[in-house]
Amino acid sequence: MIDFFYQILWTLDATLRVATPLILCAMAGIFSERSGIVDISLEGKLLSGAFVAAAIAAVTGSAWLGLFGAIGASVLMSLLHGFATITHRGDQVVSGLAINILASGLTVILGIALFKRGGQTPTLASDERFRPQELWFVDLMDNIPILGPIYRELISGHSLLVYVALLCVPLASFILYRSRFGLRLRAVGEVPIAVDSAGVSVTWLRYRALIVGGVFCGIAGAYLSISHGANFVREMSAGKGYIALAAVIFGNWRPVRAFMACLMFGFLDAITSRLQGVDLPLIGEIPAQLMLALPYILTILLLSGFIGRPSPPAAIGKPYIK
């Protein structure tokens, strides 16, 4: 029984770790898409953030510089996306795809050129990364049954960036629903001409939304390469940006619901490794591929109207032309 309890805790603990980049990217996606810009470039931003974080941390030895570098790189990618889609009214999906391809190629080429390790960056030492941290009172709480282990195993012992990701959710919610910026952002994703006629610049508003998204993706990238991992590996984002986008859709473009979707997708990922080779009663062994494909399958089911009805921002994907 105790063993089972710990099994659950460890699975949930893994869920949180796997879900962290998804949560950050999903919040980025919400800001971008709520402003009316389709953002499949989450993947590319995540990947370039991961590379720059690891590269800078490796050269300077500072995790913080790595984090800021990642944010810078990711914001740069956002601005590129904005330049193509807002300033020049290009197709948002094409631009996003181009950024993903660019990130995928550029990270490997720069990696080989700079570090000569076949696209990887050098492995970072412990103090060059964001390491798991024990929270306060862990030892004190140990004496309390159930809550103690939950606190020690699940809540405490994550890297700073995991907590940042968790804080981003209420923050995103607050900005979207309680601030002037959020009101205008939501408006510009629905009826941009209404925002324009209210005397607010559509262009600048959408750029700001993309920049916020860039910051979130940058943190997510840094988490991948200098917190969860200890170096950059080619294609290490491995579709997480797309899954985050699926979570955005699943969460109906709302921060808290998208967060839940991220946890669900993270949970599926976490139990996949635990269920490998395990024969479940009645079902038998579940193929890992099926579990990995589940987020996408669920998203397709959602989009085709089997589970509720998604209501995307009305102006999404449409360039604003006066």
């Binding site: 408006a187 629905e190 209404a194 324009d196 209210a198 005397g199 006066k322």
Partner: protein, 522 residues
């Protein structure tokens, strides 16, 4: 005459809320506005009338900062004004209610009104202040709106009030309304006019842009007439009449009421019995309809929009299946179990001019000649060859354009680049070409200018006299009364009554549209 005298310098009497001098604007080769002079007296309702494409909207967009004039001067309260964007216009006290509302359906009324002037980086305080201001304005001008209602739940008339409140809240004392009644029912339009009266009484200057003569006559103090980008006249409303205005607008004599000879109804072309339909949510939208239409007559269907006219037309055109009852259309009986498509209906001799030409009548991105054959791809209009013959289609389109005076005569121009009236003429030309035996027409003159209205009405009468049965759905009572031989009034999907066209007057129809039948049948 209010503003025909020329001003020579930048000075202007302060009694004008707004003065424009020699405003010009071109888009590429098209001169949308040419040397426009305009003076609007403070605290009046000033109408600007002109056909679609006369340059009214461009002029208003310049005033509101959405476009910038190439040349010319603007004065507000006698002071020179530079308007570079809507923010400038708003700060100068110019508010605009656009033809297509600038509201966000998923936002509440309050959020919509706040947008752009939230009163701080966080919304909390602004919400309270805006709600209070909304209530004050609502009471002053007698247009109370629930601030927490979602705009998507409001009807069109209420949405328009929200737009007006939004402009007033941002401090507008010059209010521009662009074709405000285009989307309103007659009752809602009357309410709007009452609101405009109140605004004027409270010192607000109102600019009413419209192409409807009746509105100008009913509500304005002064009127300016535009034609082809130029200002062609200014009149005091009390000193002019609809005929004069129409002639100034069109530049030639027009018939406001088309002559209609006596009808000669012959065989029954359409016979509907017990027809019923349900919406996707299970509400009854058509309820036990029974009527006939004979060849050589026009049956007008009147009603406030949304009372079943749309599904009825869809059923008759083969776009929707009836759920109950049946109808016999040119010898074919159709019930809930009949498999029927719009092209079957067409092949059967039915023409359909849909009420929403953008959605169902045209492919806006397609060129005119392609639109001219939509739905008739397997008839001779696409040529005699096995494949579609482009040359033949283009020639066919050019002929129709000549016959129906569609401007510009450009078969290769995408449909979206034609004005509303000319788009409608493309649809009318297409649907009438095959000489239908039954024509289903929805809102044939919505967003269409006076000249084209006259033309389309004449075509409908001519078609009737050739022995075609016509079902005409329109929310414009004048149109229904001017064209119909019999009028069926609908309310909530049911027939209220059917009366003969000669017996109809607006008062009577208005009551019936509200569902009051007087027990009068015909």
């Amino acid at each position: 005459m209010t503003a025909s005298s020329n001003t020579t310098s930048g000075e202007s009497a302060a009694s004008f809320a707004l003065e424009l001098q020699k405003i010009s604007k071109s888009f590429g080769l098209v001169q949308a506005n040419k040397d426009i002079d305009l003076r609007i007296e403070k605290g009046t309702i000033h109408g600007i009338i002109g056909e679609n494409g006369a340059g009214k909207s461009t002029l208003m967009n310049i005033l509101y900062g959405l476009h910038r004039a190439d040349s010319g001067d603007m004065f507000i309260d006698g002071k020179p004004a530079k308007i570079k964007g809507s923010a400038d216009a708003l700060s100068l006290g110019i508010g605009m209610v656009h033809q297509h509302f600038m509201l966000i359906p998923r936002f509440t009324v309050l959020e919509n009104v706040m947008l752009g002037s939230e009163g701080g980086a966080l919304l909390g305080a602004g919400r309270v202040a805006t709600a209070q201001r909304l209530q004050e304005l609502g009471q002053t001008f007698d247009m109370v709106v629930d601030p927490d209602a979602l705009v998507s739940d409001l009807n069109v008339g209420m949405r328009q009030r929200v737009e007006i409140l939004k402009a007033l809240k941002s401090g507008a004392n010059i209010l521009i309304l662009d074709e405000p009644t285009g989307v309103l029912t007659p009752q809602e339009a009357t309410q709007l006019f009452e609101i405009l009266d109140k605004l004027r009484d409270n010192g607000v200057t109102v600019l009413l842009i419209t192409h409807k003569l009746a509105e100008i006559m009913a509500i304005t103090d002064n009127v300016s007439i535009m034609r082809r980008g130029e200002m062609v006249g200014h009149r005091k409303t009390s000193e002019t009449n609809p005929q004069e205005l129409a002639e100034l607008m069109v530049g030639r004599e027009v018939l406001l009421n088309v002559e209609k000879p006596e009808a000669n109804p012959s065989d029954v072309a359409l016979s509907v019995s017990g027809l019923g339909c349900y919406s996707s949510r299970g509400h009854k939208i058509l309820d036990n309809l029974n009527f006939e239409v004979r060849a050589g007559e026009i049956l007008g269907i009147a009603g406030v929009s949304g009372n079943g006219q749309t599904p009825l037309m869809e059923v008759l055109a083969g776009m929707r299946k009836p759920d109950e009852g049946q109808f016999e259309i040119l010898g074919t009986t159709i019930t809930a179990d009949t498999h029927v498509t719009p092209s079957d209906m067409r092949a059967n001799g039915i023409g359909h001019i849909p009420e929403d030409r953008h959605k169902h009548g045209l492919v806006l991105e397609f060129e005119a000649y392609e639109n001219m054959v939509l739905g008739f791809h397997d008839t001779s209009v696409t040529g005699e060859k096995r494949l579609m013959d482009r040359k033949h289609m283009i020639a066919h389109c050019a002929e129709r354009m000549e016959e129906y005076d569609i401007r510009p005569r450009a078969p290769h121009l995408p449909a979206k680049n034609f004005s509303g009236g000319n788009q409608q003429k493309i649809v009318v030309a297409r649907e009438m070409y095959e000489n239908p035996k039954l024509l289903i027409v929805g809102e044939p003159t919505r967003g269409v200018d006076v000249g084209a209205i006259e033309f389309i009405h004449k075509q409908l009468i001519a078609l009737r006299d050739q022995g075609c049965a016509v079902v005409l759905v329109s929310v414009e009572l004048d149109e229904i009364m001017g064209l119909s031989d019999r009028i069926m009034v609908m309310n909530k999907g049911e027939e209220v009554a059917t009366i003969s066209g000669a017996d109809a007057d607006a008062q009577k129809l208005g009551l019936m549209m509200a569902g009051i039948s007087e027990g009068a049948g015909a």
